[in-house]
């Protein structure tokens, strides 16, 4: 009777360990224990196979890459808005405050959503200012921006004809598709503002490429650069 109870307990305890046997994050002693039990237990061998299938399905490459630059920029803006006393020199707080802090984002959620459109517009506007106004500063090598940049601002990239900003959720595959359609390729970027420098990939006119770019919802901002742009600017859309 005792033997059966022990067997049942061993079966239950080993079954509980199977997920970490499958993801290879189990200690040596527990692994050997699972190995020994699997030799005699068909039910656990079946469970092992099932869990391996599950792990395979849950670790498959989603084929999506997110670009962190624009998201980081929004975090930087939030940090800039912090009270200097609590932001620049974070004070020690009780442990429980961590849970409170995790509560705060939920309260901010609605406010965040309301301001999402405004944020996107702000990013586009900021990018616009950078591309339309600060370009001259980049070119003139005037004073650097007074915040950390992931990629240092540079002068015009060779062959650059357009600068553009894409929505933060744009995947690399989508980005490539948009550029292919507009006959463009990336020559540099993104800058800290998420601005890409684009060059022509065919004899298609810059204004035609620009129109194709602007037709995409994922393109937050696009503007021609260089002498051609100054001579014949495209009307904003």
């Amino acid at each position: 009777m005792n033997g059966m109870a022990n067997q049942a307990r061993e079966h239950r305890e080993v079954s509980e360990l199977i997920p970490w046997y499958v993801n290879a994050r189990i200690g040596d002693a527990d692994r050997q224990r699972v190995d020994a039990h699997l030799r005699d237990c068909a039910e656990c061998r079946g469970e092992l196979q099932l869990q391996r299938q599950l792990l395979g399905a849950m670790t498959a490459d989603p084929g999506i890459e997110y670009m962190p630059t624009a998201s980081l920029k929004r975090l930087q803006a939030r940090l800039d808005g912090l009270d200097p006393a609590s932001g620049a020199a974070p004070a020690a707080v009780p442990d429980a405050a961590r849970q409170d802090a995790a509560d705060r984002p939920a309260q901010r959620s609605i406010r965040w959503r309301r301001s999402m459109a405004a944020s996107i517009a702000l990013v586009a506007a900021a990018s616009g200012i950078l591309t339309a106004g600060l370009w001259t500063r980049y070119q003139a090598h005037s004073r650097p921006l007074d915040y950390f940049t992931v990629t240092a601002p540079t002068a015009h990239a060779p062959q650059e004809v357009i600068r553009a900003v894409f929505a933060p959720a744009t995947t690399l595959i989508e980005l490539q598709s948009i550029l292919d359609e507009a006959h463009l390729r990336i020559v540099s970027g993104p800058t800290e503002a998420g601005v890409y420098s684009l060059a022509a990939n065919s004899s298609l006119s810059v204004s035609a490429s620009l129109s194709l770019l602007r037709a995409h919802g994922a393109v937050r901002f696009a503007e021609a650069t260089g002498p051609a742009a100054a001579a014949a600017p495209d009307p904003p859309q």
Binding site: W20, P68, V93, Q99, P105, V150
Partner: protein, 183 residues
């Protein structure tokens, strides 16, 4: 200590001293992992970004509270876990529910591998959040039992129980997975 863990500790110490560049480096180091993980719970990138950025606001404000008894990665993912739980509960009737788009994809994809992934994703969506997080932390992020206990701030026994119930529910909702045909 392996080089990555050492780098994380160095960066977090700098964050605790008010170094914004260190926070940004930490952010860039964790963004891909967290974005992929969180996008399994919500299809909207703005939600993913919100959770990640809220997480790093907490990291910035509470870096000094970090106790070196745990790993930096466990601490950061623990903050992301709590932030995500709150956020996902708020939008329970939003993108977290299986969308028509996902169901349509599930029914039309020609490859068996992708079909299985879609069925699994639908099964996962039926689980209570804590159970689903336990499974995702183990299988998607590859965490050990003890690490998941630390991340979720739960006893090891609770983690085992959540995992057990998640497996049971999935087994019932995914008979095609348990029906053999595997290697």
């Amino acid at each position: 200590m392996n080089p990555l863990k050492e780098q994380d500790s160095t960066l977090l110490a700098a964050v605790a001293a008010g170094d914004r560049r260190a926070l940004e480096q930490l952010y860039l180091g964790y963004h891909r992992r967290l974005a992929r993980f969180l996008s399994r719970f919500t299809s909207r990138y703005e939600n993913v970004e919100e959770i990640i950025n809220d997480t790093f606001m907490v990291v910035w404000q509470h870096a000094k509270d970090f106790r070196h008894a745990s790993q930096v990665s466990t601490w950061i993912i623990g903050i992301a876990y709590r932030t995500a739980l709150k956020s996902l509960r708020q939008q329970k009737n939003g993108s977290f529910a299986p969308g028509a788009e996902a169901l349509a994809e599930a029914s039309t994809d020609p490859t068996r591998e992708t079909e299985t992934q879609d069925w699994v994703m639908q099964g996962l969506r039926q689980l209570p959040l804590e159970q689903r997080f336990t499974l995702e932390l183990a299988y998607h992020l590859g965490h050990s039992l003890e690490e998941i206990a630390a991340i979720t701030d739960s006893p090891v026994g609770t983690v085992k129980a959540r995992m057990f119930h998640a497996r049971e529910k999935l087994r019932r909702s995914l008979p095609q997975l348990g029906g053999g045909g595997g290697p």
